[in-house]
Amino acid sequence: MTLQEKLESNQFVVCGEITPPQSCDGNVIRDKSRHYKGFVDALNITDNQRAMVRLSSISSAKILLDEGIEPIIQMTCRDRNRLAIQSDLLGAAALGIRNVLCLTGDHQTFGDQPEAKGVFDLDSIQLIAAVATMNSGFLLSGSEIKKPPEFLIGAAANPFAEPFEMRLIRLHKKIAAGARFIQTQAVFDLGIFTRWMESVVEMGLHEKAAILPGVMPVRSVKTLLWMREKLPGMRIPAEYFNRMGQARDPEDEGITIAVEMIRALKNIRGVRGIHIMPSQWESVTPTIVKEAGLHIAH
């Protein structure tokens, strides 16, 4: 069953995430994917995350396909103009990739080549609309595509960045443009997320797109501090720092917190799955999926 079929049949889905290496070693992706196989329904592959050059998302996705894992390519607007985006999407579809997560992309100044030209020809919402247009058989120019792609379109949302209402407006626009699943920024503040989700349900958006909140297992207080410093738009309540700081085994505590979070998220109305983002700690996925009592993908 594909991710789309699972979402359509209302299964609770589990997504993971892989960051490709800064090398041309495809085995790194194969190794990382082994931690996920059988435990996730689909795997995100980041697209030059944090504006750092990495093995391309589409090539990595092809490797995953060959490994028997369904990939979700991330497509950002920072590195490509509309021509490259459409061409890459046609290429991805030809390789058998069916899922695309449309993002604006981190600003180039966050990376190790901050002097690069940021493209931002489209923004994430226009990108979603562009993919939806391609699905319906046309390029942005109006030319017909003889064999149109059939992408399942995803988008991101950050319920924790200000202003709160503006985030809902953006979500509304993304879904109106054609997004069918939404992966959120990692949830640490359950209170804000619950409030956000209530508004989403009130607007009826949860029925038009599957909301998949992000869960990020954390290894140490150091990681938490780094995230608070370096990842804008992230909110981490003080309680987490205390729990991680006082824990005898921070890794164990990190898993416990992630599992608790998943259980809590599962009970929120409108949540249709979760998106696990272990960053460089892929090996933790099976433990979390098992302990949270999630189904194991087939």
């Binding site: 920072r78 509309r82 604006t104 981190d106 600003h107 100044t109 966050f110 940021g118 931002f120 020809d121 489209l122 923004d123 994430s124 919402i125 226009q126 609309a129 562009a130 939806a132 247009t133 319906s136 058989g137 046309f138 942005l140 120019s141 109006g142 030319s143 017909e144 991101a156 949302a157 950050n158 960045a161 200000e162 202003p163 209402e165 503006m166 407006i169 953006r170 509304h172 626009k173 109106a176 443009a177 054609g178 920024q185 607007m203 009826g204 029925e207 038009k208 804008p232 738009g233 909110r235």
Partner: protein
């Protein structure tokens, strides 16, 4: 000088009718090219426009003005030049992730939209930017029908927001 080759690759009119509404609203189809004569007029008008819009709005001269739907704050001051709302990096205090000493442009747009009762305009998906219109007169482009109209006065903003949301709910049902 032609700014855009008007010749369309669509073979016949019947095909054209199949183009989805979404694409039509993205602003990448059937844009009138700027003629040589227009270009001169554009330069004169741009002088005037700059005198007003640069000091007042920190206009970035994109030629495709959407000031009226962004509560009269120029969205093109965003480092990513986003036309459809803020990225996910706005800080708790509303700071920009790229320049933390500055306020996120869209943060300001949102709060001023509330103040001016223009929140419903933020729901509109703004079209993809036509880079050929950079540094041309938005007034001329507006007059020539290249860009969408300016909304100066807006009534019953809250009702509009409700309609936008419930409209979608109705379509879904």
């Amino acid at each position: 000088m032609l700014l855009r080759n008007k010749q369309s690759s669509i073979s016949d009119a019947s095909d054209k009718s199949r183009i989805p509404a979404l694409l039509k609203n993205l602003g990448t189809l059937n844009i009138r090219p700027i003629t040589v004569r227009e270009r001169k007029l554009s330069q004169v008008l741009l002088l005037l426009e700059d005198i007003i819009k640069v000091p007042l709005f920190r206009c970035q001269r994109c030629g495709e003005c959407i000031l009226s739907s962004t509560a009269f704050i120029c969205s093109q001051n965003c480092p990513k030049r986003l036309r459809n709302g803020p990225c996910g990096g706005t800080g708790e205090d509303g700071s920009c992730e790229v320049f933390p000493d500055r306020k996120c442009v869209w943060f300001r747009i949102y709060f001023r939209s509330r103040l001016l009762h223009r929140v419903s305009l933020l729901y509109k998906i703004n079209s993809i930017h036509n880079w050929n219109l950079e540094k041309t007169s938005a007034w001329l482009n507006l007059f020539r029908g290249r860009i969408q109209g300016t909304i100066l006065f807006l009534r019953s903003d809250q009702q509009r927001v409700k309609d936008i949301i419930s409209d979608d709910a109705a379509r879904k049902a």
